[in-house]
């Protein structure tokens, strides 16, 4: 068995590494620092991807700005304030189910509610709101774990000094849980940057530099999809892909380092 499995591991690792190498090879020459800081021209066939990078960052920032308070708040509610009984289980079931929903359906939801009914149009705002909903389960899961891991003795110590539950949460629980929560935020960030389907339907595909949250924007993932599908500028497509992968891997590596070897939830 051992030789067989070792061969399998070698093959799989080899394929994985080979794919990354092919990506890097195709990007050679196109991925210069200038590439990231130059605006695109001629529908992406020329120039760089500055507007794309900025759209990516705006979308991610907006998504986290919405998802973190909601997600951490939910986690705090589940651990600190929820009445014992079936409510906690219900909330968890609903948020876990949300985790399993295909990303395109978030896109449909975002399109229907944010783009059309709320009238935001295809925009960074609609995209961020949609992404935030997608990121909620990740943020809730990791935050809940982090908050629940804070030892009960610390809360009891605070209570014995006359602190309210909120005091304890603010001054003891949150600081203690901060690394775990940060990890969750990083994982969510990685997902936000890599997401395509949901954003495609809600943030539009305009390549121009967005100047307000109601402007449409095209993040890196969508840009890659469009360049690839239309066969435009192979080198730039590869370079975009490499930039995207590097960004996501970097964020994930940070998250794993913070976790210190524990299993990613």
């Amino acid at each position: 068995m051992r030789p067989l499995l070792s061969a399998l591991a070698l093959a799989v690792s080899g394929v994985m590494v080979g794919l990354v190498a092919a990506l890097a090879a195709g990007a050679a020459g196109s991925l210069t620092p200038g590439f990231l800081f130059t605006l695109p021209a001629a529908a992406g066939r020329e120039g760089g991807i500055l507007s794309v990078v900025l759209s990516t960052l705006w979308l991610a920032a907006g998504a986290l700005a919405l998802a973190l308070p909601l997600g951490i708040g939910t986690a705090l509610y589940l651990v600190e304030y929820a009445p014992p009984g079936r409510l906690v289980g219900l909330i968890r079931t609903l948020t876990e189910t949300l985790a399993g929903v295909p990303s395109i359906l978030f896109g449909l939801f975002g399109f229907s509610v944010f783009v059309v009914r709320l009238g935001w149009g295809p925009s960074l705002l609609a995209g961020s709101a949609t992404l935030a909903l997608m990121l909620l389960p990740t943020v809730i899961r990791t935050s809940e774990e982090a908050v629940a891991a804070v030892p009960q003795e610390l809360r009891e110590g605070a209570a014995a000094l006359g602190a309210t539950r909120w005091d304890a949460v603010r001054r003891i629980v949150l600081p203690q849980a901060a690394p775990g929560i940060l990890t969750g935020a990083l994982l969510a960030l990685g997902r936000a940057v890599g997401e395509t389907a949901a954003v495609l339907l809600t943030a539009g595909t305009d390549l121009a530099l967005p100047r307000s949250p109601l402007d449409p924007g095209r993040p890196m993932a969508v840009h890659l999809y469009i360049l690839a599908g239309e066969g435009l500028s192979d080198g730039r497509a590869h370079a975009t892909a490499v930039a995207l992968v590097c960004g996501v891997l970097f964020v994930n590596a940070l998250a794993h380092m913070l976790l210190g070897g524990r299993r990613v939830p």
């Binding site: 229907s112 909903l133 990685g190």
Partner: protein
């Protein structure tokens, strides 16, 4: 309870309520938007130009690409899990695991791009045709879900009591016999959970498969035929769909949600109700 605590409980409770409502709101939105077109989905042809909105070819595409990818990814993923838990030295595992973890983090559009640039031409060279095919979709999707299966499988196999392994070896079993006759059966519920997780991910995948599957909204007759999934269909046509067409896309989204929830519920029960994280 202190005023501040009551306020906190209300605010935090509101956050929890919003988060909980999420999945319900999504279900509501797609159903409301798609309701009028729902009956039209029962058909065998998807051709919006002709007013035909039968989802059968799309369901077939989704089912085939999912099953095909799992047929490859499940044995390979469990094999990788077994490699990491019982064959690799700690140093080797420390090299292989980050590779898998890295691949799990790569966005699906990048997998689609690589599939487009490498897998599609290879299929075209080896088997003829354009290369955009069910096979390409299965290969790309298999690569995407393999790391997940491997990670969960490794956990499940490690959880098997080492004392049991010792007992089996002490009876004269070879490593292969220990794995096949003891470890895999003993880790059955965890391994099933791994497959369930992969199944859910595969069904919901959109972009990567869309980029390599070719563009034919018809039931594929061979692995080399092009196809289209339910998810890819929505992504592709939403940009320019209006009226009844758009309603049909929403309705297909509602159907997708239903199928996804049903499949994962059934499979989770088959895995013994074990929560998978």
């Amino acid at each position: 309870m202190d005023v501040r605590d009551r306020l906190a409980r209300t605010v935090l409770g509101a956050a929890a309520a919003v988060a909980s409502a999420g999945v319900l709101l999504i279900a509501l939105a797609v159903t409301v938007e798609g309701w009028p077109a729902l009956p039209h989905l029962f058909g065998a042809v998807w051709s919006p130009e002709d007013g035909q909105y039968g989802v059968l070819p799309l369901l077939a595409g989704s089912a085939l690409v999912t099953l095909g990818s799992l047929a490859m990814a499940v044995p390979a993923g469990i094999g990788m899990g077994l490699f990491l838990s019982d064959v690799a030295t700690p140093r080797l595992a420390a090299v292989v695991k980050p590779v898998l973890q890295g691949m799990a983090a790569v966005p699906s559009v990048v997998f689609g791009f690589l599939g487009l640039k490498l897998i599609v031409p290879w299929i075209s060279r080896t088997f003829g045709g354009l290369g955009f095919s069910l096979l390409a979709g299965c290969l790309v999707l298999a690569l995407m879900v393999l790391p997940t299966i491997a990670a969960v499988a490794e956990d499940a196999l490690r959880a098997v009591d080492p004392a049991l392994r010792e007992g089996a070896y002490a009876l004269g079993a070879t490593p292969g016999q220990v794995a096949w006759r003891l470890l895999l059966p003993a880790a059955k519920s965890g391994l099933t959970a791994a497959v369930v997780l992969a199944l859910g991910r595969a069904l919901g995948e959109t972009m990567a498969v869309l980029m390599v599957l070719g563009n034919a909204a018809a039931v594929p007759r061979s692995p080399l035929d092009p196809a289209r999934t339910l998810t890819g269909n929505i992504a592709l046509e939403m940009a320019y769909a209006t009226g009844r067409h758009r309603e049909a896309l929403f309705a297909s989204g509602a159907l997708l949600l239903l199928v996804n929830l049903a499949v994962t519920q059934v499979a989770r029960r088959a895995a013994g109700g074990r929560g998978v994280r």
